[in-house]
């Protein structure tokens, strides 16, 4: 991945979370505090703005900067989580711009290390794990095919959170009542991978 593609990805995510802000917020209102759409919009808009004045000629630098901006601008749990994801991805790409599959894996690891969620806890991890696995499996077929596979897997993973009971964060207080609602963070993870696939 080069700097231009990375910038295009971040811009596409910003556009997508803006378009889906109300949906993300509604999902979060059902099992959380109803700010996920606002949070991500603020974060990715800030990332786009930060990148506009950021001179970087590598995808690694662009994505690291994106992560750092998300960490400090989102204001919710998804900020440090997605921030860690993009920082770890960016750092991997800074070492090797072609190691996108490894970078995604490093991003996932960073999210798990910070948030300590396990698959099935009804979080973004439930979309992230299948997306990262699908990308790695399809990577031999090239970026476009792998990104498309990852996007499909993330969307499926997000949909599969609906029947789950939340075990992390505020939603966990709802116990059985959290079942029947799709997790907002898993939903936004699907948007992030859909934006990646859209670049291909």
């Amino acid at each position: 991945m080069d700097a231009a593609l990375a910038r295009a990805w971040v811009a596409a995510v910003a556009a997508s979370v803006t378009a889906h802000a109300a949906e993300l917020t509604d999902l979060d209102a059902a099992i959380g505090d109803g700010d996920h759409g606002v949070n991500l919009r603020r974060g990715f808009d800030a990332a786009v703005a930060a990148l506009a004045s950021f001179e970087a000629d590598s995808a690694g630098a662009v994505l690291t900067k994106t992560g750092t901006t998300l960490v400090s601008k989102v204001g919710g749990a998804s900020g440090p989580l997605y921030g860690s994801f993009f920082r770890a991805l960016g750092k991997t790409l800074s070492d090797d711009p072609d190691a996108f599959a490894d970078g995604l894996r490093a991003g996932l690891d960073a999210v798990v290390r910070l948030g300590k969620a396990e698959p099935g806890d009804k979080t973004m991890v439930d979309a992230l794990v299948p997306a990262v696995d699908a990308y790695a499996a399809a990577a031999p077929s090239g970026f476009a095919a792998a990104a498309t596979a990852a996007a499909g897997a993330a969307a499926d993973g997000a949909a599969a959170t609906t029947p789950l009971q939340a075990r992390k964060g505020r939603a966990s207080y709802l116990g059985e009542r959290s079942a029947g609602h799709q997790d907002p963070g898993a939903t936004s993870t699907a948007l992030i991978f859909a934006a990646l696939a859209g670049l291909g």
């Binding site: 505090d33 700010d35 505020r170 966990s172 207080y173 709802l174 009542r177």
Partner: protein, 127 residues
């Protein structure tokens, strides 16, 4: 809907916590702040607590949470004096218990379930 009353030594603290709870519980849950003394200083006010409980009481009971042990004494006195016996004092961590109770109240849970959630918040680990 179960009501929630927040008894704090600080008026600001009680109102700030109320803001947070409204976000997770929605506007329909009656959540009342009873922070500070009558004149807004640090301490607890019998009258503010009484008014807050009366306001939060919509017939499904009221959960009263307190920040420090000394707030318990004032709240307990209010509850003993109050004729309508619909409010219960819960032994729970103030912020964490209130968030748990508010989430459940917003989901339509009854007083017993909200009380249990507030109490159990004590055992939820943050790290």
């Amino acid at each position: 809907m179960v009501g929630i009353v927040l008894v704090s030594h600080s008026e600001r603290l009680a109102h700030g916590l109320r803001d947070m709870l409204v976000q997770v519980a929605g506007e329909e849950v009656p959540i009342e702040a009873a922070g500070g003394t009558d004149d807004g200083g640090l301490g607890t006010s019998y009258d503010r607590i009484l008014v807050a409980i009366d306001r939060a009481d919509r017939g499904a009971g009221v959960l009263v949470l307190t920040d420090l042990g000394s707030a318990v004494l004032t709240a307990q006195t209010v509850l003993e004096d109050r004729v309508a016996n619909t409010a219960v004092l819960v032994d729970a961590p103030f912020v964490e218990g209130a968030v748990a109770a508010a989430v459940l109240a917003g989901a339509g849970a009854d007083l017993a379930e909200c009380t249990r959630a507030a109490t159990e918040a004590r055992d939820v680990r943050k790290l």
